[in-house]
């Protein structure tokens, strides 16, 4: 029986290296590997399929330009790419001043994020599932606030309005939730 580690971060970093040296097959593999979460985040922030595709495409383009500066010690490829995507999506939405998102869509986002895994129920990336698990273990109101702010791209004021709570309470929930996420990860490493 062969014994090995199941961490797949090294494989992700290898794909970024392929991107950095203009390896076309590597670029295709990179896009296919991450397009689901990247498009998912763009869609959850913009709530506009056409704009989400523009944002997702631009995110991959930025990643391609910045591939040589990716440092695996700073974080996983997934979170690096999603950070780029989030910034682009938020800029796009604020430039456009989109209409408020309806409650049904946000509730769908909340349940999908906190449930974890891929929509067909066969499981998803280990890293995504682990993060969803940590989120689901937060106090419910903190988990909701963190998902709305981070994955939904809502401002603290919008979170307050949506949840029907004072702005200060929304900020506290977001801050406490993020703090707990980090603590949970540290506890798992110990």
């Amino acid at each position: 029986v062969t014994v090995f580690s199941l961490a797949d971060r090294a494989a992700d970093a290898t794909l970024v290296s392929a991107l950095a040296v203009n390896d076309e097959a590597g670029a295709v593999a990179f896009v296919r590997r991450f397009q689901g979460p990247v498009y998912g985040l763009a869609a959850s922030i913009t709530h506009d399929p056409a704009l989400a595709e523009d944002v997702a495409q631009e995110a991959f383009l930025r990643a391609w330009r910045a591939a040589s500066s990716y440092d695996p010690r700073r974080g996983s490829v997934l979170t690096w790419l999603l950070t780029i995507t989030r910034n682009l999506a938020i800029d796009a939405v604020r430039a456009r001043r989109s209409a408020p998102v309806d409650a049904g869509q946000l509730e769908l986002l909340l349940s999908a994020t906190l449930a974890g895994g891929s929509p067909d129920g066969t499981g998803g990336r280990l890293e995504s599932l682990a993060a969803a698990e940590r989120l689901a273990q937060l106090p419910r109101e903190q988990a909701r606030a963190v998902v709305l702010a981070v994955v939904g791209g809502r401002t603290a004021a919008e979170v307050a309005e949506y949840e029907g709570i004072p702005l200060g309470t929304a900020k506290t929930r977001i801050r406490s939730g993020l703090h707990r996420m980090r603590r949970a990860l540290e506890a798992e490493r110990d």
């Binding site: 397009q35 996983s76 999603l82």
Partner: protein, 224 residues
């Protein structure tokens, strides 16, 4: 360095891009000169990254990867001028880096920001090889525990693209349970495909995992 320090909620707002540009630049300028706030910011930013990783995947419209590749190929060296917000973010990255290089308060930032171990698993799971009947190793199977729940982790390194495989969990008493099915896509144009999946585990660890092709034939199996 002034006596003023941003409160934690302002740092959270910065990490979430939820501050207007003038305030953003003031915060970034402060972080450049204040190691304590930089460390606090790095911790918050770490929490944001953890939450981002939970983003639900959504399949993009058909042809998406082809369009991205076309855009990459067509991308000219000339890039647009960064806007104020982008510049502020670049400054922020530089500020964290400067703290590291100077070694002033950079040690804590280094441990929280730069040297994260793989986040994939809470324990170091061990596994068994996934073998075809011909004895070729085509991947691996293991059991990992995340936040107290167990999952079978399947990693296929050389599968056949386009074939839908069903994962069968075989118990010690011979009971067979489906863990779901999926199709691998051709990633490198080499005719082989790879991927990793999780299957939530209820009850005890199975004795064997089988990947079954639509014909009912067992393509590969792993025995614990």
């Amino acid at each position: 360095v002034t006596d003023w320090h941003p409160d934690p909620d302002q740092l959270v707002a910065l990490a979430l891009s939820d501050v207007p540009p003038p305030q953003e630049q003031r915060l970034v300028a402060h972080l450049a000169s204040c190691a304590a706030c930089r460390d606090a910011y790095a911790e918050i930013s770490d929490g944001v990254q953890q939450a981002l990783a939970a983003t639900p995947a959504v399949a993009p419209p058909a042809g998406f990867s082809g369009r991205v590749l076309a855009a990459i190929t067509a991308d000219a060296p000339a890039t647009p001028r960064p806007r104020a917000r982008t510049r502020a973010r670049l400054l922020l990255a530089a500020a964290v880096l400067v703290g590291l290089l100077a070694g002033i308060g950079g040690t804590l930032a280094a441990t929280t920001w730069f040297t994260r171990p793989p986040t994939a698993s809470s324990s170091a799971p061990l596994g068994a090889s996934l073998l075809t009947s011909a004895g070729d190793t085509v991947g691996s199977v293991g059991v990992a525990t995340l936040s107290g729940r167990s999952y079978v982790v399947l990693t296929v390194t050389s599968g056949r693209p386009g074939v839908r495989y069903e994962c069968i969990l075989v118990g010690r008493d011979g009971t067979r349970t489906s863990g779901g099915s999926w199709t691998l896509s051709d990633e490198y144009g080499t005719g082989t495909a790879s991927g990793s999946w999780l299957v939530p585990l209820t009850g005890e660890r199975p004795a064997r995992i089988e990947l079954v092709a639509p014909s009912g034939a067992v393509w590969s199996r792993a025995t614990f």
